[in-house]
């Protein structure tokens, strides 16, 4: 068995003492692969990503990244290891300019030349952002904010991208564009863990998939197989 880039074992997470939103989840993401995590609203998808990024501390279980135990590390340390999240709802810094949002993505980078190089690459990928670098990010449309959030994450040159519902609430044209960008990132060999409600698109793009239900993994396997599974078709693909 080849080493996974990210390996999660029996992860249990919750927000208060009484309830556990995620119960003993195990999953793996290999280097250079796209893994999709699908499931209904409230299944615990976002909670898992928050746990992986260190925004909430695991109750039980462990998280390993590149062979290193990162369980319970604070968020800024996990970011420093190259695990970068594009959070649900974009979470751009609305009171700051687009240029500043991008600079925030490179917060840990102390190399102006490298930062400029990455910025050029991001602006080439998202030309809409290049036109309005000085504008307040809060003035952008939802789709543009999603691009900014992804561009901001790319400024960190991540070893692993965690994408939380990148297509949520976007117009169909933007949804297509976002998935085209994820496809490009995949071709470039980026490792991506994708959380999506748009199960069809998420399974189309992924190598491997996990189906989450009520905080537990119900099903996992190659994405193409999951997409043919009768239960998945009935529950998530509108079949």
């Amino acid at each position: 068995m080849s080493e996974a880039l990210l390996s999660v074992n029996g992860l249990t997470l919750g927000y208060d003492h009484a309830t556990e939103a995620v119960k003993g989840v195990s999953l793996e993401v290999r280097e250079g692969s796209v893994v999709s995590l699908i499931g209904a609203n409230g299944a615990g998808k976002t909670t898992i990503l928050r746990g992986l990024s260190g925004l909430i501390r695991p109750r039980a279980g462990s998280v390993w990244f590149r062979g290193q135990d990162i369980t319970g590390l604070p968020a800024h340390r996990i970011a420093a290891l190259g695990v970068v999240q594009v959070p649900e709802g974009r979470q751009v810094f609305a009171n700051m300019t687009i240029a500043e949002n991008l600079r925030m993505g490179a917060w840990l980078l102390n190399d102006a030349a490298e930062e400029a190089r990455r910025r050029e690459a991001v602006l080439a990928r998202f030309p809409r952002l290049a036109e309005r670098l000085g504008q307040q990010a809060g003035l952008l449309s939802g789709g543009e904010q999603q691009m900014l959030a992804m561009g901001r994450a790319m400024m960190a040159d991540p070893r692993m991208l965690l994408l939380d519902e990148p297509s949520m609430g976007l117009a169909p044209l933007f949804v297509e564009e976002i998935f085209r960008i994820i496809e490009d990132l995949k071709k470039e060999g980026r490792t991506i863990l994708l959380v999506e409600q748009n199960a069809q698109a998420a399974l189309d793009i992924a190598d491997h998939a996990y189906v989450l239900q009520s905080g537990r993994i119900e099903l996992s396997g190659p994405a193409a197989e999951i997409a043919r599974n009768e239960k998945v078709v009935a529950a998530y693909l509108g079949g």
Partner: protein, 292 residues
């Protein structure tokens, strides 16, 4: 006469502005209402007093008092507020905890220092004055406005012109997302506590110099005025704190000069009430919009 009053008002206003800036920074970035803030002002004044009584120059005593108050603020925040922040407690919790701490700290200071009004050694207060277009400006007043102006400029540059300030603004707006970008929130929280505690301490020294009267409760009086400044300017807004501080300082001085000095302290609170009636979000505020 008017010109003289305006100069005196500018001196007081610059201290108010500086004081309100430190509080605004604390509230804006840390998201807590920290009532112990006023206490650092008292401590700063006393530290500078003791230092100058031991022959230290006021130019050294001022940064020393500011640094010491900053360090105290870091410790207080770490002990009282960091646990609340971690638990994502509501703002009222920080208000209550720091109210209790403030009462305790003041009564300790009162017991240790007594409420007698103390004065700087005569050598510290430079009564010599320069004549500026017919207006008498003492060298002490120059020191106050100069220090306050330099600190305000430094703070504005930090927040709007530096990379660190960008990180602080990001942390203020979205703490979780800032952490996802690699911002070490704990370190920046300590830095902000250090800066705002330091600003309060520096204000204590400057207020002490301006009125040449130092006693333990001076920070409490200032805290109430600080609230008036902050509400008028708009809670959490740096420009607002700056402008409102100058306005209240000027109006107080003019009231003392042309009406009666006994009503000058009412000016700030009258403006506070008026602001809450007419424009609750203050001159530049966004808070009310956010809450709507």
């Amino acid at each position: 006469m008017l010109a003289q009053q305006l100069v005196n008002g500018l001196v007081v206003g610059s201290i108010y502005a500086l004081f309100a800036l430190g509080f605004t920074l604390m509230f804006g970035v840390l998201g807590v209402i920290n009532l112990t803030y006023g206490f650092y002002l008292s401590i700063g004044a006393f530290l500078a007093l003791f230092a100058t009584q031991h022959g230290v120059s006021i130019w050294l005593a001022l940064p020393f008092a500011a640094l010491a108050c900053g360090a105290i603020a870091v410790v207080v925040d770490g002990l009282l507020l960091t646990p609340l922040r971690r638990a994502k407690a509501p703002e009222l919790a920080s208000l209550m905890v720091t109210l209790g701490a403030t009462l305790l700290l003041y009564s300790l200071a009162n017991a240790a220092l007594s409420t007698d009004i103390r004065r700087f050694p005569p050598s510290v207060i430079d009564g010599s004055a320069i004549d500026l277009l017919g207006v008498r400006v003492t060298l002490t007043q120059c020191l106050i406005v100069g220090s306050a102006g330099a600190l305000v400029a430094a703070l504005l540059w930090l927040m709007n012109g530096s990379r660190l300030g960008m990180g602080l603004r990001a942390l203020a707006e979205r703490p979780d997302t800032a952490a996802l970008m690699g911002v070490n929130a704990g370190a920046l929280v300590r830095l902000v506590s250090m800066i705002s505690g330091g600003l309060a301490g520096a204000c204590g020294v400057l207020i002490g110099l301006n009125y040449n009267a130092i006693q333990p409760y001076m920070g409490e009086v200032m805290m109430l005025k600080g609230f008036a400044v902050i509400i008028l300017g708009g809670l959490g807004d740096i420009r607002g704190a700056l402008v409102a501080g100058l306005i209240i300082g000027l109006l107080e001085t003019l009231t003392a000069g042309y009406v009666a000095s006994s009503v000058k302290d009412a000016v700030g609170f009258a403006l506070l009430v008026l602001t809450l009636w007419i424009r609750p979000s203050g001159l530049f505020g966004r808070i009310a919009v956010k809450r709507a």
